[in-house]
Symmetry: C2
Amino acid sequence: MAKSNSISSSVIKRLPRYYRFLGQLLKEDVVRISSQELAKRMKLTASQIRQDLNCFGGFGQQGYGYNVSDLHEEIGKILGVDKNVGAILIGAGNLGKAIATHINFGTRGCELIGIFDADEKLVGTSVGGIAIRSPLELESFCAKEKPQLAILCIPKTSTQEIADKLVNLGIKGFWNYSHYDLSIEHENIVVENVHLGDSLLTLTYRLNNL
Amino acid sequence: MAKSNSISSSVIKRLPRYYRFLGQLLKEDVVRISSQELAKRMKLTASQIRQDLNCFGGFGQQGYGYNVSDLHEEIGKILGVDKNVGAILIGAGNLGKAIATHINFGTRGCELIGIFDADEKLVGTSVGGIAIRSPLELESFCAKEKPQLAILCIPKTSTQEIADKLVNLGIKGFWNYSHYDLSIEHENIVVENVHLGDSLLTLTYRLNNL
DNA sequence: TAGATTGTTAATCGATTAACAATC
DNA sequence: TAGATTGTTAATCGATTAACAATC
C-alpha cells in the first residue's frame, strides 16, 4: 500500500476513536449516519470526518450518509483488526499483568503469545492463561513463534538494551510502557511510547490552572 | 493565573517530557544545556524548545543556555508537582490495582487517598497500603477528605453515571481509563481520557503499513 | 571584546474548517 | 425531480520552523 505511509498521524490517531463510536452505533442498531450526526456525537466537525475518511476512499453516499456497519468494517480493515500479529510481553509486574489481562488483543489484530520476566519466582506461573517464561528462552521462542510486537513493561534502565536485542530477534513494533522514550535507529521499526505519568501530569496541570 | 489558560494544549502536552528529560540531565550532573543540545536529545528543534519555554517566561540566559536544575524546577512548578491534590481510585480490578501501585503520584503533585470498589469481596482488603472501600462510603469520604481528582478504572457502562455523581461530590478532574469517552457538561471540570486500546491500534496500524 | 545563545518576530508548513459542485 | 449529503477544492487557522537582533 503506497498510500498508507502518506496518511498524517493526526488522522491515524483519530481512526480508533471512529472505530469505537461506529461500534457503539452498531450496538444501538443505527443503520446509517451522516457526517453531521457523527460529528455531533464525537464532538468533531462534519468536515473533519469527511476529510479523514476520504484519505482512505469514498465510503459514503451522497444524499444518504454512511452505512454504519460498512464503515465500521472498512475502518476495522484499515486498522488491521482482522490481522493476527503475535505479541510478547516483557515484564510481568503489576502493570504487565494488568496489560495482559485487561487489553483485548484479539479485537485489535493481535494475539498475546508469550510473557517473559527475569524474576525466577514468577517463571512457571501464568497470567491470563499464558505461562511466564525466563528471558533465557526469548531467542528460541522468537525463532519459533516469530512475534512481531513486544510490549515493554520493564524498568527504564533496561529498556533500550532489551529493545535492541528484540529488534535482532525480529520484533518490528514496540508498545513501550517503561518511563523511557524509546527510539530505535533501525529502519522499519515502529514505537509507541505510552507515558501514563505524563498523562497524569497534563491533567494535574489543567486542574491546577482551571 | 490569567495566562495559563491561553497556553496551547500542544505545548502543555510536551511539558512533562521536558520535565523528564531535564530530570535525567540532572541525574547525569549536567549543569547547563543549550536549546540546541536539548533538541538533539529530545529529537525536537531548538526553535520549538525556545518557543515552548517562552510561553511561561525567559528561563534562559543569552550566550549561556539554560541552567538544568533551575529549568527542571521551574517546569515542575508550572506542572504543579509541588502540589498535593487528593485523588481517589474507582475500580480496583487488574488495571486499577496496577495504576494504584505503579504510578508515582507523589512526584506528580497528587496523593492517592482512597480506593473504591463495588465488589464486596474486595472491600476491606488493601492495595498499596490503601484500604478498598465500598462505594456507599463515597459521599461521606469526599465530604471529609475533599479529593479533587478521580481515577476511573470501571466498565464503560457505569462511567458516565459515576462521573456525574462524583462531580456533585466535588471532583474537578477525571483520569478516565474506561473504554468510554467521558465528557462532562459542567464547567471547570477537566477530563483526560486514556485509551490504551486506541494506542495499541495505532501501533498495529503502523506495523501493518510499514 | 568576541562568541554564543537566547527571546522574539516573521515565514512556512500542515491541519482544520468552510464552501460548494457533484450525485445519490 | 427535489432534498440531502457526500467528496473535494479553497480559505482559514494554528503550530512549527527559520531568522536575527538583543544581550549575556
